[in-house]
């Protein structure tokens, strides 16, 4: 992430060639070439991902784990190979530590239900940070409501960094779980998750890391992080929507109760006793998103081919240039100025609401996100109702940052 990005810029990327791989980038929006800077919401998809999904439906479409026929075998092999790809990409030790989910949100809900809930007594605590996306807040709130556990929040500084000392203080004897975002979707802050995992483990507390905004922007190694759970979404990392994955340490997954019941998650079903399948299939009830998993594997292979370090270096350069360029526009103020940032830049303009900025930028062909970014507590922390967020992907260019800045001047022109 932030640290490795600059250190490991081993080679430069051919961005023009990369852009040629993404069909959606080559269109006009309001009569101007599209500048897509809403990558933290979802990234565009390279041709090879689209082709992998199409190929599955055109050639290998069958259900998995249940057919003796050739198509089903091909589908099963492709689906399980996708699991191996995710395992390799995340640096996990064993494919059986990878559970396919609909995305980050579902993965967190799965951990909340199957891992944390059975361990909770009233008065126990779950510790998250003030920087979380709603997906790493609401599942824990639901769990606390249902069990009488208490949700504790680690505060963040004015710069948009986690207060590490407070984190250590808030870890109590009652803490049963820590949830932390690896890279903030609203501020771009890269959190010291390795250090936080170590602190939590010293107290015997397991940690879930929300990697939705980290996986697209650099190398993630769950072995090195030593986190207990790591979750991410495919669609934010050049893959299809509706697919994501949960990494969970094997010893945890083995001890977890099922999350949903249905087909494909059982060994045998009788009226007297149903026996559940081993992980990961225990947590994949029903026909999975086979095409999605295959598309996700194609996306991760693509990212690996480019080199996560090279991607991180390219994006770090973009982020640095964009920060400087945007701040050169009078009246612009950054929200979040963490030392380590990746992927996204959040800002406001004096006297002009982010939604108005979003609409005017859109007519200039520049797609950004204006709003609370599903992180309302972060907005409250900084005393704003919304921000403008420009977020970057491997295919973005320095010229596009120029277009963003021109767009901001167009905004100023309208609002005088």
């Amino acid at each position: 992430m932030g640290e490795t990005a600059t250190a490991a810029a081993t080679r430069t990327l051919d961005v023009a060639r990369i852009r040629a791989e993404f069909p959606a980038l080559h269109q006009e929006s309001h009569g101007k070439p599209l500048v897509y800077l809403d990558n933290a919401a979802t990234t565009q998809k390279p041709r090879r991902v689209i082709d992998a999904v199409t190929r599955f439906y055109e050639r290998d479409c069958a259900n998995v784990h249940r057919g003796v026929h050739q198509l089903s075998q091909r589908a099963t092999i492709a689906y399980e190979s996708a699991r191996t790809t995710v395992k390799r990409h995340l640096g996990a030790a064993d494919s059986r530590e990878i559970v396919f989910t609909r995305g980050t949100t579902e993965a967190i809900n799965l951990v909340a239900s199957s891992f944390v809930r059975p361990r909770l007594a009233p008065g126990d605590e779950i510790l998250i940070t003030g920087m979380e996306h709603h997906s790493n807040i609401v599942p824990w709130q639901l769990l606390c409501e249902a069990t009488g556990a208490v949700l504790k929040i680690v505060p963040i500084t004015d710069a948009g960094e986690i207060e590490l000392e407070r984190f250590a203080e808030l870890l109590s004897e009652r803490t049963r779980m820590v949830g932390v975002v690896h890279v903030s979707n609203a501020l771009g802050t890269v959190n010291p998750v390795r250090e936080m995992v170590e602190i939590a483990h010293d107290r015997g507390v397991p940690v879930l890391v929300d990697g939705a905004q980290a996986v697209p922007h650099g190398r993630v190694d769950v072995g090195e992080l030593d986190c207990d759970f790591y979750v991410f979404s495919g669609h934010k990392t050049y893959g299809p929507t509706g697919i994501g994955a949960l990494y969970g340490k094997r010893e945890h997954l083995l001890g977890m109760v099922p999350w949903q019941g249905g087909g494909d998650m059982i060994l045998s079903v009788t009226w007297e006793k149903t026996r559940y399948a081993e992980p990961p299939h225990r947590f994949e009830a029903g026909t999975p998103n086979i095409a999605g998993a295959i598309g996700l594997a194609a996306a991760l292979d693509y990212l690996d081919g480019l080199g996560p370090e090279a991607v991180a270096a390219h994006e770090a350069a973009l982020l640095e240039a964009a920060t400087e360029a945007v701040l050169s526009v009078p009246g612009v103020r950054l929200i979040g100025a963490a030392r380590h940032r990746a992927g996204a830049l959040s800002f406001v303009m004096d006297g002009i609401h982010p939604h108005d900025i979003g609409t005017i930028l859109d007519t200039e062909g520049v797609a950004i996100r204006a709003g609370h970014h599903c992180a309302q507590p972060v907005m409250q922390r900084f005393g704003v109702s919304a921000t403008v967020r420009a977020s970057f992907a491997v295919y973005n260019t320095h010229e596009e940052i120029g277009r963003l800045v021109e767009g901001l001047y167009a905004v100023k022109e309208v609002f005088g």
Partner: protein, 145 residues
């Protein structure tokens, strides 16, 4: 862009009219757009079925702020029924959904351009939904329904 952000809209955004907390209000309601976080509170003093005084407080985009400001000017002194009629006309102009048509909207006509920006329609209508909720308050005259 000029169709959306007309001068009168920009002016009401810069200097919103009737923007204060009303101490003598006998109705009020909160409006919130959960998608974008815009909030508005509308205060009313209704006497004998007529809106004698109206004010608001809130935070929102230019469309939302200007729409609220212009709404307060348009409905001040009107009866609750007349205000409701204006809302229907306004809603129809923006969405084509309300039954009411051909309502003379006066200055409110400046929001016609919002129709071309479907994601912004709610910015313009939040104030009116909030006014409606305030008028429907417990003490509201039965004529509002």
């Amino acid at each position: 862009m000029k169709e959306l952000y007309q001068e009168i809209i920009l002016d009401h955004n810069r200097r919103p009219r009737n923007c204060y907390v009303m101490d003598c209000a006998n109705r009020s309601a909160d409006g919130h757009n959960p998608l974008c976080g815009d909030t508005v509170r509308v205060y009313l003093r209704i006497e004998g079925g007529r809106i004698e005084e109206i004010s608001f407080q809130g935070s929102g985009c230019a469309i939302c702020t200007a729409s609220t400001s212009l709404m307060t000017e348009s409905v001040k002194g009107k009866t609750v029924d007349q205000a409701k009629h204006l809302f229907d006309g306004f809603h129809h102009m923006l969405t084509g959904l309300a039954e009411e048509q051909g309502v003379p909207l006066g200055k409110l006509q400046v929001f016609e351009g919002v129709r071309e920006y479907p994601v912004r329609v709610k910015c313009a209508t939040l104030a009116w939904h909030t006014l409606n909720a305030a008028m429907k308050g417990e003490d509201a005259p039965a004529t509002t329904e």
